[in-house]
């Protein structure tokens, strides 16, 4: 049976402004003409100071000196709803966005002006272990994203939305999970929930009709003639008497989300809190796609200073294996942020993931991790990524053997890879060859005394020579020159065993190439 969940976000602009900070002082969202802005929303500290919606900004600022003011930007609200829909896609295949209503009536009775989502949860509740478990997950997830929402359940999307918005504006309402309960659940709700235009609502109020139930009691054809058949259709759809197809939301293939920072952020570590919100959102998005992200790009936008715009700070987080767990990503980001310094205070943080990668979940152990547990891959990757996030790929690497006779080309510095290069057979040396455990990236010229090399004392040659004279096929490549060398194992008075060679070409110098540690 279809069951619809309405997620209503009351005062969305206020929530958007406040979700990037932990605890806010008085905060207000303004709307209206630029020269005479009016308060549209204000939070509890502001209300305690005496500020109310529809107040002039100048008056509000006189009441609360520390009032933070953010002008309303409908685009941001739409983006936020879109992002939230992407997140909610992990719970339901049918998600519909209810966009913010911008036409608000001032002065008179404030319309609810809620925006939010409607999801079909009846089909997926078994997957998540029952209706209450799914509800708990959604509620907790919204909390971690920094949203406060009112929920409504009903057998039709229209009724669910009416119940949700009624709850968002503080009215008591009953869920109508079965079709038969719809009529009784909707009847006591006030007419203002229907968001009809002000004139209609006023006329109906003047007729003494205040609730949906009273309107439903009127003769249908007379009501349709006077107020329009489409109003009855709306009620019929909510009551399940007519089909109510919902526009299907299809999530995009890339993730982009942003979060406004109400106070200027000067320290990169302060970005962690808003970034965590973004990562939670990303996790939901990736779960919806059953994918992981291998490269995350955070961008800290700076306030344009005068006419000069400042280049945004780009913080890339590259991972060895696709990941979607917000907790693990946050740990890596915390390490990465220690390498970042903000040239200017940041006013907005955005996160984009261009490419999604197939994700393979790592199984967690049923038993508590014992000392012998073979959770090797997980820990190894976590460690590698932590080191890599802070030190960078030129400082954290793996070494691979390459099949080349030139000793300096038989080694390759490789970036950390998700899977160990397992199936490849190891390149084995011929048994007679001796190679040092430590090699110098660039051979060091040695001092000579009477044709004899010298390294912290006279060197005695104890093995060799081994002639290596190869590489003519790379002729002309300055990075891979041909070598003509005789290698020896040498030892000095201090007991150091070295790998040295003598150039066969003039001036036939001696070089140190490795240590037999």
């Amino acid at each position: 049976m279809a069951l619809w969940l309405a997620v209503c976000l009351p005062a969305l602009p206020l929530q958007l402004a406040a979700r990037a900070i932990r605890c806010a002082g008085p905060l207000a969202i303004t709307e209206g003409p630029r020269e005479r802005p009016l308060i549209a929303f204000c939070n509890d500290p502001a209300r305690a100071a005496g500020i109310a919606p529809a107040m002039k900004l100048a008056a509000a600022q006189a009441l609360a000196r520390t009032l933070a003011v953010v002008p309303r930007t409908p685009d941001h609200e739409r983006d936020a709803l879109h992002e939230l829909a992407c997140w909610a896609y992990q719970f339901s295949a049918q998600v519909t966005i209810r966009p913010p209503t911008l036409l608000r009536s001032y002065g008179g009775q404030a319309s609810p002006s809620s925006s939010g989502l409607v999801l079909e949860t009846g089909g997926s509740e078994r997957l998540f272990g029952g209706r209450s478990e799914l509800h708990r997950r959604i509620r907790r997830g919204l909390g971690s994203l920094g949203y406060r929402a009112a929920f409504g359940y009903a057998a039709t999307p229209g009724a669910a939305w009416l119940i949700g918005t009624a709850r968002a504006s503080g009215l008591p309402a009953r869920d109508a999970q079965a079709g038969g309960q719809l009529q009784s659940a909707l009847a006591p709700l006030p007419l203002t929930m229907l968001e009809w235009d002000v004139d209609t609502t006023r006329t109906l109020h003047a007729l003494g009709l205040n609730t949906i139930g009273q309107v439903l009691g009127l003769p249908r054809d007379a009501f349709a003639r006077r107020f329009g058949a489409h109003r009855l259709d709306q009620l019929d759809r909510a009551l399940g008497l007519q089909p109510d197809p919902q526009p299907a939301f299809s999530p995009p293939a890339r993730f982009a989300a942003r979060i406004e920072l109400p106070a200027d952020v000067t320290q990169s570590a302060q970005l962690m809190f808003p970034a965590h919100r973004l990562l939670r959102s990303l996790e939901g998005f990736l779960r919806g796609h059953d994918a992981g992200a291998a490269e995350l790009i955070f961008t800290a936008h700076h306030n344009p200073r005068g006419v000069r715009t400042i280049t945004a700070t780009r913080i890339a987080l590259a991972l060895a294996a696709p990941e979607r767990d917000a907790g693990r990503l946050a740990k890596l980001l915390a390490e990465r942020l220690t390498r970042v310094s903000l040239p200017e205070p940041a006013v907005e943080l955005s996160l984009t993931v261009e490419r999604l990668a197939p994700f393979q979940a790592l199984n967690a152990s049923l038993l508590p991790p014992s000392q012998d547990s073979v959770r090797d891959g997980l820990d190894w990757l976590q460690l590698a990524e932590t080191l890599h996030a802070r030190l960078g790929s030129e400082r954290v690497f793996q070494l691979q053997a390459v099949d080349d006779h030139r000793p300096e080309h038989a080694i390759r510095i490789a970036p950390l890879a998700a899977e160990r290069s397992g199936p490849r057979a190891p390149i084995r040396l011929a048994p007679a060859l001796q190679r040092p455990l430590l090699i110098l990236a660039a051979p060091q010229p040695l001092a000579q005394q009477h044709e004899l090399p010298d390294y912290r004392g006279e060197l005695a040659l104890i093995a060799g020579p081994e002639r290596i004279e190869v590489g003519w096929w790379d002729f002309g490549d300055p990075h891979r020159p041909t070598v003509h060398r005789d290698y020896f194992v040498a030892r000095n008075q201090r007991g150091q065993t070295l790998w040295i060679y003598r150039e066969l070409k003039q001036p036939r110098g001696w070089f140190l190439h490795g240590f037999f540690c």
């Binding site: 820990d379 070494l399 510095i413 110098l440 060799g464 020579p465 007991g495 065993t497």
Partner: protein, 275 residues
Amino acid sequence: MRAATHPIPLLRAADPAAVSGVWHADDPALAATAAECAPTGFEILDAELPGGGWPQGQLIELLHDDPGIGELSLLAPALAAQTRAGRACVWILPCEYGSCERGLQADDLLQQALPYPPALTEAGIDPSCSIFVRPAVAREAWWAVEQSLRAAHLGALIGWLPTSSAPADFRALRRLHLLAQRHRALVFVIRPSRCTDAPSPAALRLQLTCDRGPQSQKLAVKILKRRGRPLIEPVALQVHSGSWDRNAASLAAPTSSAVKPWQLAAALAGAGAGC
């Protein structure tokens, strides 16, 4: 003074069974109860180490000045066993810029030295199981060691640690020692031998020098600190290929008819230049 030293020989003379409740400091088996141990691969050394091998989950300090005396070959059998078991190794290589104050030529060279995968494979150490870290400065090296020790499943860690003042080093090492005790990894730290006299929290401290005998060269492992009674005599180990030592001996012997190596080299070089 004399009276105070008397009871010890008395106890030692007594039958161990008669004083079973008394802990004998010179009993290696008793001293080893604190930690599990991994065999070193050298029987002579195993016999001298409490518990018969490298203690797991303890800091092991190797002090030496001369790279190339066989310090990694000493660790190789234990590392090979770890990689065979599928556990990861982390190598914290010497700092790139951090050790200017050391002032030793060898260390400057070590800053650009890399473990050589063909030789690692030959020693049984799978390089694909290893992560290599080349820190830029001392702070990064300590951080990387600490992070590695926080990972739950680490097989072995080899760190060339930077040195500063003795008290600062002690504090940092103490921290690592406590972290190392949380799991069973082998934690080797390599430090210059001038740190010999500095205090250290490591459970096992070894000083590595070279023991040049008449026939062969061995690695002399002097145990500076171990659980149990101290060991005065260093342990001599053959860590390098034995054939080199025969070569060296034959070259050193005056009756040898072998071509002198430099003459050989010159001859070869002449041939090489001619063609």
